[in-house]
């Protein structure tokens, strides 16, 4: 049953989505493309771009988008519920123990390995998105130009995305 499959996938994504934002891309990708082929690699990148241009967390955005594509409004609702369920329960439980939590040794233990792992996750995601998105010298050029302007001139991501669309229209 598609609704149940969707719920379980996004439940899993939510449970391990440490670090927020781009860190969870490989997780989402693994569930919705590699394992289930629910959407194409291109559509996944389009969702990421859309998330950059609209408000809201990327986890919720991709949950809503994939749910809608596969099962309409109900799919969107079920996915969004699935992706926030485990984090919400954990946060409610921990909210009572903030003082203990702040300086706990367990936290330090977990984050020693987790912090660099999240960097690896993001870079792996850049690599996999790159394999789909960069397919000729022009697209490589656009990626380099955008990388340069966001890092050198601190251009806002929304502006950078708009500019890349114009570049695409002109040179592709």
């Amino acid at each position: 049953m598609i609704i149940l499959d969707l719920f379980l996938s996004f439940f899993k994504i939510g449970s391990f989505s440490f670090g927020g934002g781009y860190c969870m891309l490989p997780l989402i990708q693994n569930e919705i493309i590699t394992k289930n082929s629910w959407i194409t690699a291109e559509t996944f990148i389009d969702i990421i771009a859309t998330s950059q241009m609209t408000p809201g967390p990327i986890a919720v955005n991709s949950a809503t988008f994939v749910g809608y594509e596969l099962a309409g409004v109900l799919g969107s609702a079920v996915n969004t519920f699935g992706v926030i369920l485990v984090p919400a329960v954990i946060v409610m439980i921990l909210s009572k123990y903030v003082d203990k939590f702040k300086n706990s040794k367990i936290l330090e233990d977990i984050f020693t390995g987790l912090r660099p792992a999240l960097v690896g996750l993001i870079l792996a995601s850049a690599f996999s998105v790159g394999k789909t998105a960069i397919f000729n010298i022009q697209t490589l050029g656009i990626a380099l130009v955008i990388f340069l302007i966001i890092n050198k001139f601190k251009t806002h991501p929304i502006l950078a995305i708009a500019f890349s669309g114009v570049l695409g229209a002109v040179i592709l």
Partner: protein, 175 residues
Amino acid sequence: MNKNLKLFLIYLKIGAFTFGGGFAMIPLIEREIVETNEWMEPEEFRDSLAVCQSVPGAIAVNNAVFIGYRINGVLGAIAAAFGVVIPSFLIIMTIASVFTQIKNIKMIDPIFNGIRAAVVALILTAGLKLFTKGIFNIFIIVLTFIGIAYFELNPIIVIIMSVAFGILKNRKEEQ
């Protein structure tokens, strides 16, 4: 005004106007919760961020649940979470409903392809910003990268493995 309704409205506003991820909205939330409504002390608010960033989940949603729960129990948490999620939920659903039609227009393919190339740059930038030095860190970064990008391992396994390595490292240093 009813506390739940107030929480819902505050987080609705936050969900509708924060672009660029969870960190961007923290000052906005702090103003609403600490200054305007005086529901929390500044230190308490800052401590709550530590929890929200350390557990899985989107920072925005975690924060809504944390603050909502503190102020009005489970109902408060639901009201705030609902508020913060609703705007992106509606916007993305609207986009998804017209997405296929737009994508089928061949003329705009180049625009899409240009944007996709830019996404690579955005993700790469985010990764490099978090890059940390040190042999152990670089070891884990490389291991995670190869594990996912080359061996296509499940990211969950890679995360658990990295945490285990970190614990081993800390234990070894204590000895």
